[in-house]
């Protein structure tokens, strides 16, 4: 399962991309639906970035830190420069990557849950620092306005924004796919499966884990920058545990360690989440999502992506029986 070969037939990718491209037309330009779809795309990128880290056997409970760093860096540069551009978003990603690299350097030797706790603590510390010590620049808990990705004055600005974010997400996922199909993917998988044996095969776990941490932080920073420029606002709330946990939930729900897992998980849970809200089940939806997650983890530990395989197995068993 380096990256399960042949499990991403071109037609399923084509259909998914086709739906994504045609979506604004299908959605009838509804402001609400487009908004939900944009946030969904951003979380697909965020979850894929988190999952990329998990692929190398590392776990983070504080990825909101890099999400927030990307958002703040891009916002502050854009505010001083007067406009949002790909350069500020890229800068957000680069600073997140650099800080991810430094954090990785100090704790990449830690095993999964110890690393997870360090990242969780890092996000908490960052939230407090941004809200208090850096309040003069960041606006403290009140937050600051972030320039929009596409000026609201443009006609169909939300549709343009949707396509820009779709393009960034697709390019990032293709990049993740290519990395995981390369020798780097093999090194990540070997380290995740058995670190001692990986070392015996000549793989330097520190180097590769650090690379995974840096790339994951970079993509998370990019997604954070896209988020704040879409919303038009940023506050220390961006570092909240919610933002650290959603990508984990999406990835586990869809299928850990797969390319399509975070995509499927994010799409389905976002649709369910938003539909329940539309139905007026504001608080009940937490319970429903929680139950769904429990059911999937118990019956489909490899996530929703393993459902077709499970059905095939059942069908084959029945035929035998």
């Amino acid at each position: 399962m380096q990256v399960a070969k042949g499990s991403y037939p071109w037609y399923s990718c084509g259909i998914a991309l086709g739906i994504a491209v045609l979506f604004p037309l299908l959605a009838g330009m509804s402001f609400h639906i487009l908004n939900v779809a944009i946030i969904m795309l951003i979380f697909i990128l965020f979850s894929s970035a988190w999952n990329f880290l998990a692929y190398s056997g590392q776990a983070s409970l504080g990825h909101a830190a890099f999400f927030g760093i990307g958002g703040y860096v891009s916002t502050l540069i854009a505010r001083s420069a007067g406009a949002t551009s790909f350069a500020t978003i890229l800068a957000g990603g680069c600073v997140a990557a650099f800080i991810g690299f430094l954090l990785g350097l100090t704790c990449v030797r830690l095993k999964e849950w110890f690393l997870a706790m360090v990242t969780f603590g890092f996000a908490v510390i960052l939230q407090v620092v941004v809200a208090s010590s850096l309040a003069a620049t960041t606006g403290g808990w009140d937050g600051i306005v972030s320039p929009r990705l596409i000026p609201v004055s443009l006609p169909n600005y939300l549709v343009i924004e949707y396509y820009v974010i779709l393009a960034v997400t697709v390019v990032s996922i293709v990049a993740i796919y290519l990395i995981l199909r390369s020798r780097a993917g093999l090194a990540f998988a070997a380290i995740r499966e058995n670190e001692t044996e990986a070392q015996a095969a000549g793989i330097n776990p520190v180097r590769w884990k650090l690379l995974a941490f840096t790339v994951s932080s970079f993509l998370t920073g990019i997604s954070g920058a896209l988020m704040v420029h879409h919303i038009g606002f940023i506050s220390p709330e961006i570092f909240s545990a919610d933002n650290s946990f959603w990508p984990i939930i999406y990835s586990i729900f869809g299928g850990l360690g797969t390319i399509s897992g975070p995509i499927i998980g994010t799409v389905i849970l976002t649709v369910v989440w938003d539909s329940l809200k539309e139905m007026g089940l504001t608080y009940e939806r937490f319970v429903i999502i929680g139950l769904l997650l429990i059911v999937v983890v118990i019956f489909l530990p490899k996530g929703l992506v393993s459902l077709p395989e499970k059905i095939r197995e059942r069908y084959a068993q029945r035929k035998k029986g």
């Binding site: 090194a187 998988a189 070997a190 058995n194 044996e197 070392q199 015996a200 095969a201 776990p205």
Partner: protein, 246 residues
């Protein structure tokens, strides 16, 4: 005698209050198969793990091809030309047999090669160790013990080592499979690879080794050709006179 390939001097390992190894000296020569024997808890695996860098030594030095390698991380030692198979063959449970060996073909030495070339090389190694190639795309977790051992051996060979450390290769194998393993060990030596082997099946180690080192409670108690060691009084006493084991 040929040139010394690996030399361990005064290797000591303290684990808490226990001394697992007490100043062990050992040398492996080029083209040699050196057997390492001793009762359970003698420190054989610890010594192997110190040579490969998995366990740090408390004192002593290990020199390989004239270079001190003590303190180097395992991946660096592997790339210098020492590879190891483990007593408990776990490999990479969710990777295929071919991927497991390919990883070593790519990262185990300093040669730059493409993934496809490394994969082809890995296939040759799997074939050499007698792994059924129709199972090369099978996840390692679905393989039986014999197949797992073969994958591990192919993984160790794929890094193109000068010295192979083998820890209990025949554990879990029946008599026929053990004989095949002995044949394989000899074939490996023919490729110019020296071997340091731990084995509990005395018939295997006596038949295949050029020299044998005997450890007991962390100390080297004997060293020599198989028949010399088998007739050594201290070795006989250590094995409680149970020379049938030999």
């Amino acid at each position: 005698m040929t040139r010394v390939l690996l030399e361990a001097k005064g290797v000591t390992k303290q684990i808490g209050g226990l001394t697992a190894l007490k100043g062990v000296d050992l040398a492996v020569h080029e083209d040699e198969i050196l057997g390492l024997v001793g009762p359970n808890g003698a420190g054989k695996t610890t010594l192997l793990n110190i040579i490969s860098g998995i366990v740090p030594a408390t004192a002593g030095t290990v020199t390989f091809m004239g270079e001190v390698i003590t303190g180097l991380p395992p991946h660096a030692i592997c790339r210098k030309g020492i590879s190891q198979t483990f007593q408990l063959a776990l490999s990479f449970p969710n990777l295929t047999a071919l991927e497991s060996v390919t990883a070593s073909a790519i990262f185990g030495n300093h040669e730059k090669k493409k993934l496809a070339d490394a994969s082809h090389e890995a296939e040759n190694h799997l074939e050499f160790v007698g792994f059924p190639l129709e199972k090369s795309e099978t996840p390692v977790r679905n393989l039986n013990v014999v197949e797992l051992k073969r994958v591990q051996l192919a993984r160790a060979l794929a890094s193109r080592p000068a010295l192979l450390l083998m820890d209990e290769l025949t554990t879990g194998l029946n008599a026929t499979e053990s004989n095949e393993a002995v044949g394989l060990i000899r074939e490996i030596r023919k490729q110019g690879i020296s071997i340091l082997i731990i084995e509990h099946v005395m018939r295997v180690i006596m038949g295949v080794s050029d020299r044998i080192v005997v450890l007991d409670r962390g100390e080297k108690i004997a060293e020599g050709r198989p028949y010399e060691v088998a007739n050594n009084q201290r070795v006989i006493d250590t094995y409680l006179g149970d020379m049938d084991a030999f």
